[in-house]
């Protein structure tokens, strides 16, 4: 449900960003296009103005030529002549320029053809007038002017030019309008686009803030849960520790108090045994006396001589006492074991730097006799050093090595190997042998108190491995076994390289 909401939110975010990007792209492209178009339109507007001014310039030159021609006719002053010649010389280039400028406008091209024809006629008239004046025939020149006036050449030029100007003005209006529209369009596009981007940004910010708020809330909840969890764990740990301490105390007191009656049972059983001995000796003496009438050398003193039913009675008596005594002895061993275990459980560990190799070599030397008897060889490979409790380590290794020697295969020379390595702050030790092995179904059982596995042909209480595992756990480590029947065993112990009080749990 929450994951679904998350996915949806992420989808919307992406969609928003994509939309924003798209809008920006469109606006950019549109703006570039519209700006270009506006520039183009402005160029055309400028072009129109230029054309207009060129027409006016042409017209001006024509007027100037005309007026200077008249001046020359009236005064024959060379000034007028040169002025006229300059004007005439300027007319044709101006006309050519204009022609070039409007070459793309068919309507104007038609106009300019007419204008050009009219100007050419007028120029021809000018040249003829000038020739007449220079030849000293001003009358003919005047007549020509009159003729020109009658032919309306000047008016035609004027009209044509005006028509062109009008046309250009129309174009100017048109193009100005175009340009304005382009600019308006560009501006509104930018405006709308910016608005859209701002809107998208706001939606995006809103979404981000909302998700941030959701995240903050989740974080707060998580923090609360963590604090809560820690408190719960602390509480449980304290409970467990208390329970454990209580069990330890209980076991200690119980095993201790069980010992007292056991002393009595054992003591008075022994007393009874002695008493029984005395009674049966007396019976033996009496029967011999009564049978022979006198004390007939009943063997050495202290030796009981009985026959028949009496002998049977005495044997039954001894057997019963024997069972009681072995049971008491066994019970005593069990109680002692529990006492030792609880004592170990109560002992405070003293972490110290330990040269593991030295420690194990010392253990091996104390077990050298047993090893020689079992024809076992013990190989030590390089071992990592630890900071841990020396006594605990000694007990762990001596139990395991002792077991390895004890449960070898009869007739096969033993080979016991002790390996070590480190991994992530832990030292891992492996004690492997080629002994009789342990059936996998017994792998759990062998670590239980008073439980043993396999052929019961060796003395033992079933305490060693339970003790070792309890120690390893208290040292903050773990232990496991891998073994097959008749294929040797490997016990693996993982211990923290540096033990301290906080490792305990």
């Amino acid at each position: 449900m929450r994951a679904e909401a998350h996915r949806r939110r992420a989808f919307w975010q992406i969609l928003l960003l994509s939309a924003g990007l798209l809008v920006l792209t469109v606006i950019s492209a549109g703006s570039v296009y519209l700006v270009n178009k506006a520039r183009e339109d402005s160029k055309w507007v400028v072009h129109t103005i230029e054309v207009e001014s060129q027409i006016n310039a042409l017209l001006l030159e024509v007027r100037r030529a005309e007026s200077s021609a008249r001046g020359f006719l009236l005064t024959q002053g060379p000034d007028f002549l040169s002025d006229h010649e300059k004007a005439v010389a300027a007319i044709v280039p101006a006309l050519d320029k204009l022609t070039r400028q409007i070459s793309n406008d068919p309507a104007q091209r038609e106009n300019i053809e007419k204008l050009r024809a009219a100007i050419e006629i007028r120029l021809d008239q000018f040249s003829r007038e000038m020739t007449f004046v220079k030849q000293g025939q001003p009358d003919r020149a005047t007549a020509l002017i009159r003729e020109a006036a009658a032919g309306n050449t000047t008016t035609t030029i004027s009209n044509m030019a005006n028509a062109m100007i009008r046309e250009e003005e129309r174009l100017f209006r048109l193009r100005t309008a175009n340009s304005d529209r382009s600019q308006t369009l560009s501006a509104s596009m930018t405006g709308i686009g910016s608005g859209l981007v701002v809107l998208l940004a706001m939606i995006s910010i809103w979404l981000v803030r909302r998700s941030a708020r959701v995240r903050d809330e989740a974080e707060a909840r998580l923090r609360d849960a963590n604090v809560n969890l820690e408190a719960v764990v602390d509480e449980r740990t304290a409970d467990l520790r208390e329970a454990n301490d209580e069990i330890q105390r209980f076991a200690y007191i119980v095993s201790h108090d069980l010992r007292s009656p056991l002393v009595n049972i054992m003591g008075f059983t022994s007393e009874l045994e002695e008493l029984g001995g005395d009674i049966f000796r007396r019976i033996g003496d009496l029967t011999h006396v009564s049978a022979d009438g006198s004390s007939l050398a009943p063997g050495a003193p202290g030796e009981i001589v009985l026959e028949g039913a009496d002998k049977q009675l005495s044997e039954n008596f001894s057997e019963a006492l024997g069972f009681i005594k072995t049971s008491i002895a066994k019970m005593d061993r069990l109680i002692s074991a529990i006492l030792n275990l609880t004592r170990e459980g109560r002992r405070e560990f003293q972490p110290a730097k330990i040269d593991t190799r030295e420690l194990i070599e010392a253990i091996v030397s104390t077990l050298a006799h047993q090893a020689a008897e079992a024809q076992a060889e013990i190989h030590l490979e390089p071992l990592p050093n630890l900071v841990s409790d020396r006594l605990a380590l000694e007990q762990i290794f001596s139990n395991l090595i002792d077991n390895a020697i004890k449960y070898l295969k009869p007739g096969l020379p033993g080979e016991i190997r002790i390996r070590g390595r480190t991994k992530l702050g832990y030292a891992i030790f492996e004690i492997s042998d080629n002994g009789r092995g342990i059936d996998p179904k017994d792998h759990q059982r062998i670590f239980d108190l008073f439980r043993r596995a396999g052929t019961q042909d060796k003395p033992g209480q079933g305490i060693g491995l339970a003790h070792v595992r309890a120690l390893v756990r208290r040292l903050g480590g773990t232990m496991s076994v891998s073994s097959e029947l008749n294929a040797g065993s490997t016990f693996t112990i993982t211990l923290p390289i540096a033990w301290n009080v906080s490792n305990r749990n």
Binding site: V263, G267, S270, I328, R343
Partner: protein
Amino acid sequence: MTQPVTIIMIEDDEGHARLIERNIRRSGVNNEIVAFATGSDAMRHLFGADGSGLVQKGNALLILLDLNLPDMIGIDILKQIKENKYLKASPVVVLTTTDDSQEIKRCYELGCNVYITKPVNYENFANAIRQLGLFFSVIQVPPAAT
């Protein structure tokens, strides 16, 4: 020794008391043995009604003490004996089932003279008590007054 030594046995378990007495006797010790099954009875006897210990002035005592008593902590009795000016010279033998090293250490620190753990194995038990009896027959005990 002008006066025969009296053995004060403070032992809550009657069976134990019987076994101890029997084995002490077997070792040939014939001194009077006064047994107490509770700590308070023993205290009353040792320290008297006023609790000063004056009643034992001049008596030669040897105290056999079990630490696990129903009404008192044996160690407290030991402490009081060793703090009393009339009793502190009397040898105290702690004879108990506890074999905790801390406990043993504490007893010796408080002035106990001998600490013996009762072995469950009767042969060992009998042997220990008999040897203790032999020990009793040779040691010198000062009278309780100074």
